[in-house]
């Protein structure tokens, strides 16, 4: 069973043109997918569709189906789907509904009817995961943007969903916070959670993802294994702005006959590049 599968899915908001057009797309169980695309491409709508918010909450016109954990989203309700899928919204501030940090995280558990005695422990553990431990009693209104974003993540994580969808979850985080966030997501992914994230900074997610999707004007322009997808984007000049410079350099060098491994993080690149440079140095010296 696929975690999420879009089958010929099209969607238009009540008062908009077609936003998603005939999407065919699958997310494997336990995989980590990153979505990129220009503004207005439909990334947020795509996330909403995977959680059943579209069309349940917004209405509008649809075609085709979305199946999440074997359930057709059309035949289910958002409350039902909430057991399997958690979503961190782009507008994370409005996602927060409670007065204090603790109540905010407990909210999803209460809705799921979790026994009261278990709640404080689960809340504490989750806050620790996202780096907010000790702030249980803080007022939500008094948190910084980045802290609110972490809190929104905690609220989504605490129910231990099978699938976690995050729409630009690092938009208010500092560089260190962003790295922490993705290494946490990477860890959760290793433990079996299926993760789908909208993120423009590909270099940040590259160490963890196993699928990269480029969405343009409501269609999937490129999808596949990250290196292949990046290569295709580079070759066909599709949304080239987001390709990490190191990867561009690598494609350039490969055109001149160099061969490299996967380069999931900068360390890989540095290691292989210095090897190549050393080789080149030896060649030029011996010549």
């Amino acid at each position: 069973m696929k975690a999420i599968s879009f089958e010929n899915f099209s969607y238009a908001y009540p008062k908009s043109g077609v936003v998603l057009e005939k999407l065919c797309f699958e997310v494997e169980q336990g995989s980590f997918t990153a979505i990129v695309g220009p503004s207005g491409a439909g990334k947020t709508t795509f996330c909403l569709a995977a959680a059943g918010v579209v069309p349940h909450y917004f209405g509008g016109r649809t075609g085709g189906t979305v199946v999440v954990q074997g359930i057709q989203t059309m035949d289910s309700t958002m409350g039902e789907l909430a057991k399997d899928v958690a979503l961190v919204l782009e507008d994370y501030e409005s996602q927060l509904v409670a007065m204090t940090v603790e109540d905010e995280v407990a909210f999803g558990l209460e809705n799921a009817g979790v026994d009261r005695k278990l709640i404080p422990q689960m809340v504490r553990e989750t806050l620790q995961l996202v780096g907010l431990s000790g702030r249980e009693q803080c007022e939500v209104g008094g948190l910084s943007g980045g802290q609110k974003q972490r809190l929104a993540l905690a609220g989504a994580l605490v129910t231990k969903p099978d699938i976690l969808i995050l729409d630009e979850p690092a938009s208010a985080l500092d560089p260190a916070g962003t790295e922490e966030l993705y290494s946490l997501l990477g860890k959760l992914n290793e433990q079996g959670m299926t993760i789908l994230v909208v993120e423009h900074d590909i270099a940040q997610v590259l160490p963890y993802i196993d699928q990269l999707v480029l969405l343009m004007e409501g269609r999937i322009a490129v999808a596949g294994q990250p290196e292949a997808a990046l290569r295709k984007m580079s070759e066909e000049s599709l949304f080239q702005e987001v390709i990490p410079p190191l990867q561009e350099l690598r494609f350039l060098l490969e055109k001149h006959g160099c061969r490299f491994g996967a380069w999931r993080c900068e360390a890989d690149a540095v290691r292989e590049l210095s090897a190549v440079l050393q080789e080149a140095g030896e060649v030029s010296r011996s010549a």
């Binding site: 209460e110 009817g113 209104g141």
Partner: protein, 227 residues
């Protein structure tokens, strides 16, 4: 007071309101007000609430004067003012000693208020700090673009109108996202549990009994002795 269950405090609020209606004599009403202020002081909450109480008193004095000026008996006017103080102070006590979360929990699980209504209350409160922050942000944004809003009353008023537009738009979209977030997180689907314990303890039952006795006493007093 803080250790009592929220339900007990809700009942206390209602009880004080009833007592304020039952009592007609000035000393009785005055005593009730004093007793409440003492309660606040004993709980160490007077420091946080005295401003509210003072402005309430000021308001009551104005009310008394107006009533008197409009031709009521002085005594009736003062009784009306005291009654207002009594009833308003009890709400101050309720809000100062009870967390919003436990209040909604009590309303939903013990008073059978539909959870949608109870939560409307808390989420509305959640809006206030955000709303203030946003109005500041909008004002700054407008100031950055050379919008001052200084000047006479009319200028001031129109400058406020310029603030209201973006604020309302933002508030509407916020409340939509929040409603979406509630549903996304499974609100209203199936049975809900509550993380705060609002169950009644021994001291709650004692307090409740005491309040019933007092109410009965006041009623009897009123009927038999015409207090």
């Amino acid at each position: 007071m803080k250790q009592l269950a929220p339900l007990t405090k809700l009942v206390f609020t209602v009880a004080v309101s009833i007592w304020a209606m039952l009592l007609t004599s000035l000393p009785g009403l005055g005593l009730l007000a004093v007793a409440q202020v003492v309660t606040l002081a004993v709980c160490g909450l007077l420091g946080r609430t005295y401003k509210g109480i003072l402005s309430l008193t000021g308001f009551a004095v104005v009310l008394i004067l107006v009533q008197y000026a409009l031709g009521s008996e002085l005594e009736a006017a003062i009784a009306g003012g005291l009654r207002m103080i009594d009833m308003a102070t009890v709400f101050v006590i309720l809000l100062a000693t009870t967390k919003m979360q436990s209040l909604t929990t009590a309303l939903v699980s013990q008073c059978r208020v539909p959870q949608e209504y109870a939560f409307m209350f808390t989420t509305a409160l959640r809006f206030i700090p955000d709303f203030l922050a946003e109005s500041k942000a909008v004002r700054e944004a407008q100031a950055c673009r050379g919008y001052t809003g200084k000047g006479g009353i009319v200028r001031r008023f129109t400058s406020y109108l310029a603030l209201v537009g973006p604020l309302v738009l933002r508030a509407v979209s916020r409340s939509e996202t929040m409603a979406l977030s509630l549903e996304l997180r499974g609100f209203g689907a199936g049975r809900r549990s509550f993380s705060t314990d609002v169950g009644l303890k021994f001291r709650d039952y004692c307090t409740l009994l005491g309040m019933i006795a007092l109410t009965a006493g006041f009623t009897a007093g009123r009927i038999v002795y015409g207090w």
